[in-house]
């Protein structure tokens, strides 16, 4: 018998896990009770609430075992690529070669949350002069120093140019500590001018052909570095296969997001949907398993939508969420306050859009890199958010500021201006540090106010 959808705490999940195991639940090699990750120090897990489906269990276990996979890959003779900042392009190239595994050291920004500051990474960053005025991604510095959260990669790449200053500065600090970095340039995306033709990018933005060509040439430098590391050619057929595989992930996520965000009753909670979306950027270090995990999740969501079951009531306020949260618990908090996610822009929308298959692979990847919402104007980003608000039927926008992030000081105001003008829906900005325990009452009040506003507007 399939249990009705519920959000359950970790202890209950572990009991449920035993029940499912005895009932013959099949598990992947990384499977097991979620509680074991707490013993590794991931204490925040004790405070989260989880979807009770086996598909969600598999998703969480996949996420929380990435370090093991990276170490196993190295022991198995594979080379590790630490792609930094571009969020979705370099890993597609790396996974086109059999003996490379790519991941984002940037992901360390969640360690202070998941380990509730116990890992000491922020203190290490402090000692290196990167204090709390920087974005929580500074935890990455500490992770490199301790070597305890991921193996130091064999190759580090970092996109710079039209990126946030925090990350660029932190990566430079890392470079100054003796880690060689292959810097590649991503220029600020601009619209064509004069007689330039427009190149349409994934997600609907446009750029000039000269910018696409420039980024393609930058990615050629990455290609050469990957070939040298792998000791084999990263030729066009290999890249085309890699792109097709990445597009499988993206297509699965597209179906998953559409179903989850438009269903009358929310079929999958915000937290699991956030984790699922994150898989797109580097496949959690295993592309095939990512596909399997997402297929499982999509099947569960499809089943629930068909049955008309899910979480929350059908009256839940439909919220579009902008920016990822440093504290995962805030996604639970939204649901506690009566809201559900109906649309997201977590800064890596370009990792969700299909990579063009009708142009040569390197040009397709250049177009994808240029479609990054961060490399263009905030007005572009706002326009995309407006399109998705309409697509998913969101009733309000929540802009989640990242403490200390250079882009957050002004971007939220611009997005709010555009959304209010174009959609006439309420916009709320909140700031989410790595641990929100001290501010959760305030955050709740603000989220409740947003939900109430949405519901009041329905009545008028």
């Amino acid at each position: 018998m399939i249990a009705p959808p519920r959000q359950i705490a970790l202890e209950e999940w572990d009991r449920e896990y035993e029940r499912l195991r005895r009932a013959g639940m099949l598990q992947p090699i990384y499977g097991g009770p979620l509680g074991r990750h707490v013993e590794d120090g991931d204490t925040r897990l004790l405070k989260l609430r989880y979807d009770n489906s086996p598909a969600a269990l598999r998703l969480w276990n996949f996420l929380l075992t990435e370090e093991d996979r990276l170490r196993a890959a190295r022991e198995g003779g594979k080379k590790l690529v630490g792609a930094m900042k571009d969020l979705g392009t370099v890993p597609v190239m790396a996974y086109s070669l059999d003996n490379l595994v790519a991941f984002y050291p940037d992901g360390a920004w969640w360690i202070p949350c998941v380990m509730e500051l116990n890992a000491g990474l922020l203190q290490i960053a402090d000692s290196l002069g990167i204090d709390e005025s920087f974005c929580p991604v500074r935890a990455m510095l500490g992770a490199f120093v301790t070597g305890a959260h991921f193996p130091v990669p064999d190759l580090l790449t970092c996109s710079v140019g039209a990126t946030c200053d925090d990350f660029s500065a932190i990566a430079q600090r890392l470079n100054g500590l003796g880690h060689p970095i292959l810097w590649w340039e991503i220029p600020h995306r601009r619209s064509p001018e004069g007689d330039e033709q427009a190149v349409t990018l994934p997600g609907g933005f446009s750029a000039s052909p000269s910018q696409v060509e420039f980024v393609r040439s930058e990615l050629e430098r990455i290609r050469i570095a990957l070939e040298n590391l792998a000791g084999e050619s990263l030729n066009e057929p290999a890249l085309a296969r890699g792109i097709e595989k990445a597009n499988r992930v993206r297509r699965l996520l597209e179906r998953l997001r559409r179903l989850a965000f438009t269903a009358p009753v929310c079929p999958m909670p915000a937290l699991e949907m956030l984790v699922a979306e994150m898989l797109a950027i580097h496949f959690c270090s295993d592309q095939d398993e990512t596909i399997a995990v997402l297929e499982d999740l999509l099947a569960e969501v499809s089943r629930r939508v068909e049955a008309g079951v899910g979480h929350l009531s059908s009256q839940a306020a439909r919220i579009f969420w902008v920016n990822p949260v440093a504290d995962l618990q805030v996604m639970n908090l939204l649901e506690d306050c009566g809201g559900r996610i109906c649309g997201t822009e977590y800064l890596f929308a370009h990792a969700l859009d299909p990579i063009p298959a009708t142009v040569p692979p390197m040009e397709a990847l250049a177009r994808t890199a240029l479609a990054d919402p961060m490399v263009g104007s905030a007005l572009d980003r706002a326009a995309r958010i407006v399109r998705d608000i309409r697509r998913f039927g969101a009733e309000a926008v929540l802009v989640s500021r990242i403490s200390g992030a250079s882009h957050c000081a002004l971007e939220g105001e611009i997005i709010a201006d555009v959304v209010r003008e174009d959609c006439d829906i309420p916009v709320l900005e909140i700031e989410v540090p790595s641990i929100t325990d001290a501010t959760s009452a305030t955050l709740s009040t603000r989220l409740q106010a947003l939900v109430e506003t949405v519901k009041d507007r329905r009545d008028t």
């Binding site: 920087f134 925090d166 660029s168 420039f214 250079s406 611009i414």
Partner: protein, 300 residues
Amino acid sequence: MKEPTRTIVYICPYVPSEWIAAHGLRPRRMVPVPLDGAAVIPRVEGLCPYARAFINDVAANGEADGIVVTTVCDQMRRVFDLVVRRLDTPAFLLNVPSTWQTTAARRLYLDELKRLGRFLVRLGGREPGKDHLAQVMRDYDDAGEHVTGSSRTDGIPVVVLGGPLMQRDRVLFDIVEQSGGCIVLDATEMGQRGRRSAFDRRALAEDPLMELARAYFEIPDASRRPNSELYRWLKRELAQAGARGIIFHHYVWCDTWHAELGRLKEWTDLPVLQLDSDGQGDASIARSQNRIRAFLEMLQ
């Protein structure tokens, strides 16, 4: 020749004033003043006070016929969005590559200058001929635009290093002198560090725009990736300057310069004094004054 009547305002050192002047327009490198009560951007947590002062100052004085902003700093890149949305003055965003070691990056900067040229023509400027541009560049060079120099006094020799400074923060230089120091190297963005090198006259004669791009693109800055050229420049200049200490200034929320402090301390044997400023009120200056005095006393 007719005096230019239209003014192009900019703040970034990677915007070549000669290029604007060669188009028959008046380049004005602004040093912003923080304006109380200015409305384009209110005081916002996380916003660099320099970026805020820039847009508020531009909006308040109404003198600009065109505004040039660059991508050197993420916050200024975001400020450009607000300039476009909230001001009527035509504005241009110049893409300055962070990387500098590839031919493609240099080519991109050159192409961006050409694109800036087209913007200037749209504002009423004239596309300059090769000879005219070369003459303007020679005139600027002869006028010593690239040199600031500093006269030594008997005080304790120190270097001021950091990003840009607002007008009010130039008072730091007076405080240093009043406290018994002398600044032997101004390595802020408005000082020697933010100036291009002298033009190569032979290269200038052959292809002035290419030489202009070369001279400006080589300005060392913390924002370059890697920013090793900044340290190479500092090593050379510090050796010549004979400084006994470094005063390191940055605005709060300026990640690019703030992040360099730790590395600078590891890199240099000289004592380093950090001055962080929120760009607001006298309290910040009074605090800086106390710190500078203590630093100079220590160096005596």
